[in-house]
Symmetry: C2
Subunit: 492 residues, 2 copies
């Protein structure tokens, strides 16, 4: 019986869920003047969670079933779910015990402040005002990497945080495989003319109706979640009964909201699909950020930018916005799928997107191997943009300051986006093979069979399997670039 | 140095502030399906706060300065603020130690569920479905009253929770004084014809602009607070930098939103005015619910339903809603000030409102002295409505089910509304006397001098004085009905 451990662990999960509510509020509705106090609240909760996992009681409960020196699980534990729970709890215990409470509080307070400083620096295009707190965040993160340990280099520890098992070497190889594939497509499509989309103005109220309609069609349960607006779209989950997403609207670009809604909706379907009964157990969460991104990108790109999708949805969009009534599906889909190197990651196409990630990966690796100093970041960024994408941002705002991730302490996070793209392509191949009458459903715009398949194949498993186990169970093989290569080459 | 105690107490305040964020979210944006889990989160925080105040460490810090058996403060403490902090911390410690952790968890979970059950029962006009959980709440509350102790009867303990020092006998006498005054006004005004207000429809967007304009004019700092919508308007504060209010809109009744905004805005000015440096100390909160209500009612009624106010504001309202352009100030003010016994407390006029409170006071007292059973509540309610107000609700929805307070465990809360009315009248007499050029400011629609006076006289004091000390400091005498009597008789 691992119940005492699970009972204690559940408190940890509730603390996390409360932090998540505070973060959601911070990004959606919190008044600006409340930022300092919100940082105090966040640090308080982080400290409590750390106290709990490093407590004698937690150690005691864990040691009943796990050899704390080696991580070996008591051979008497036979249930695979219990085994997974113990492995995950042990990993968390080890990580927590290797950092001090002071570190936890400093990290919580620094990230909270850094997000505001970053937002100001970005608004005023002034990297120098962000540099000092970024430096602090890098130092704090490097301290943790040293404390937690790593295979070859500190950056391995950061990758492992977001995608357990992932290493710098592995990601380097992945990009080595991907780069020529992506370059070939960019070269092949260069100079192709792309139809222009109507540019509105599109009423925000009508766009909001579209968002809710899309969410309903993909199976998002609105009684267990909601949609709001924020500067940067995101998804968060407090519990399978409360999964929230945000979107943003442009009155000139209709795809801004549609892409965000499908992307965040994909994340939310994952969280709503994790077994409620597992809430509070280590297995009761998502597997990794890579798997999470596979769910969002599958809906945003593979489904949401496909011809079958728009065969169904363009007529619906046209009922709200008559300017689309005269466009053919092929010309609409061509318009939303240009391949075009630009400076901004979030608006990049499916091909060049991964080169944006490659830039960030190389920058992060260089920062944590001390080969790059913070003050040299803007020039290193621009240089890599030139070599990877052939474009150079005119300002830091469109360059090194564009993403919030580092301000949140999210180093080693970016590579999971490309991992997610690869996984999504591999999942869709499996889905098309396994779902009866797949093409009929897609042609009819009935996406619920796909949601149900994802639910059974992926969401319902929570974190009871590793990401590699999941790939092998669902697709019959470990992650590789082949499915993504086939997908891109067929599409472009 | 009482620093160690204050440091520990601050954790308690942060826990409360986090609970308040969760409650705000529950009332504004939380999806319906999340209710059970929100109850789990709330109970968890309540349990933690209880553990903290009943911990050996808290006891130890407190006993350094207070005799735990008698409550006597160490004579070495000379600062009035420290003395107040110690008295308040001791009171909280005594109260917390007299109930068990199980009670705290049960109460948190029961109130969280009860609010949803009440909302359903009210919507379907079905008291019987609310009765069982109401019975549980009364039992839990009675257990606490017995444990905490009281002067003469259990209900004294509940009154004391919301308005320290208030007793059943005191409130009874108050209503004995008030009743004939109120009745005389009702008799005197009966049959007076009241002008009719335009009934819209009023655009919600324009009403929202009015709300924000009103808040700005009374000095609400929007960088440290916000306005949302909820079924029942309320105000909440997480910290002086994050004070939030809600309102509701009717598209036919322009005063619904204006009254709510001014009422909740008055609460928020109080919370925004409490010294930030005192956050986390016992003195760093409001004094009592009565004082809180005095602030909301002063703005809602005494200012917001007065002739000088509408001399300034009717032209402004008319720029958004031209249907008011032809009304005279006197006829508008007469229209919003009918004296008319009705069944609904929240829409009652300033005179009959207090009779609604008298009904609830008598009901609560009867419930907690075991003279009234829950199953007999609807008939007792209707009988008291007939004798106090001369009207009988047609349904329980317009009767005993109309208020959320009991579902929140708020027994002994209602009398603070009448206390607040009395205090507000007493404060305004003092303000008119003390603020230079009072009539000029009012005539010019400049309400900031009043906000500043309230801030200095009341808000800035936090809870460093008792409510009786406050009354005497600000108005020169303890609370009585005379100012309210003068105010009503002059107005009606």
């Amino acid at each position: 019986m691992i119940q005492p451990l699970l009972k204690l662990y559940k408190k940890n999960s509730i603390l996390s869920s409360i932090s998540a509510v505070l973060n959601w509020d911070q990004e959606t509705y919190m008044p600006r003047g409340a930022a300092d106090f919100r940082a105090t609240q966040g640090a308080f909760l982080a400290e409590m969670a750390h106290e709990l996992v490093t407590s004698d009681r937690f150690r005691g409960c864990l040691s009943e079933h796990v050899d704390l020196a080696t991580g070996a699980i008591d051979p008497g534990i036979t249930s695979p779910v219990d085994t997974a729970n113990l492995k995950l709890a042990y990993r968390e215990w080890v990580h927590a015990n290797r950092v001090s409470k002071d570190w936890v509080v400093a990290m919580a307070e620094t990230t909270s402040k850094a997000q505001l400083i970053w937002a100001d620096a970005r608004a005023t295009n002034h990297f120098a005002s962000f540099a000092p707190i970024l430096e602090s965040l890098i130092q704090l993160t490097a301290q943790r990497a040293d404390a937690v340990g790593y295979v070859h280099e500190p950056y391995d520890a950061l990758l492992d945080d977001h995608e357990p098992g992932m290493t710098t070497q592995y990601v380097s190889q992945l990009f080595a495989h991907l780069r020529p594939i992506l370059r070939a497509i960019i070269d092949r499509t260069a100079g192709r003319s792309v139809p222009l989309l109507p540019t509105g103005p599109f009423s925000i109220d009508r766009q909001e109706r579209i968002s809710h309609d899309l969410l309903r069609r993909i199976g998002f349960d609105v009684s267990r979640g909601r949609l709001d607006r924020s500067t940067h779209p995101f998804s968060t989950s407090f519990h399978p009964t409360d999964c929230r997403i945000t979107t943003r609207f442009s009155d000139t670009d209709i795809m801004e909201n549609i892409s965000s809604t499908l992307h965040e909706g994909g994340h939310a379907l994952y969280e709503q699909g994790i077994p409620e009964a597992w809430f509070g157990q280590p297995v009761g969460t998502s597997i990794s950020l890579g798997v999470h991104e596979s769910q969002s990108r599958l809906w945003e790109n593979i489904i949401g930018k496909s011809i079958p999708f728009w065969q169904t949805y363009l007529p619906i969009l046209s009922t709200e916005f008559s300017e689309f009534a005269d466009m053919s599906t092929h010309s609409f889909v061509a318009a939303i799928n240009p391949v075009m190197p630009t400076c901004i990651r979030v608006s990049a196409d499916e091909v060049t997107y991964n080169l944006h990630i490659s830039v960030r990966f190389q920058i992060e690796q260089a920062l944590f191997s001390r080969q790059l100093a913070v003050r040299d970041l803007p020039s290193a960024w621009n240089e890599l943009m030139r070599s990877e994408l052939g474009v150079v941002p005119a300002t830091d705002r469109e360059g090194v300051l564009q993403d919030v991730h580092w301000a949140c302490g999210g180093f080693g996070y970016f590579p999971t986006y490309t991992i997610g793209n690869l996984m999504a392509a591999q999942f869709i191949e499996a889905a098309a093979h396994q779902i009866p009458r797949w093409s009929d459903h897609m042609a009819a715009g009935d996406w619920i069979p796909l949601t149900q398949w994802l639910n059974t194949a992926i969401h319902q498993k929570g974190r009871s399997v590793t990401s590699d186990e999941l790939m092998r169970q669902v697709t019959g093989r470990s992650l590789d670039v082949s499915a993504f290569e086939r997908y891109l080459n067929q599409k472009f």
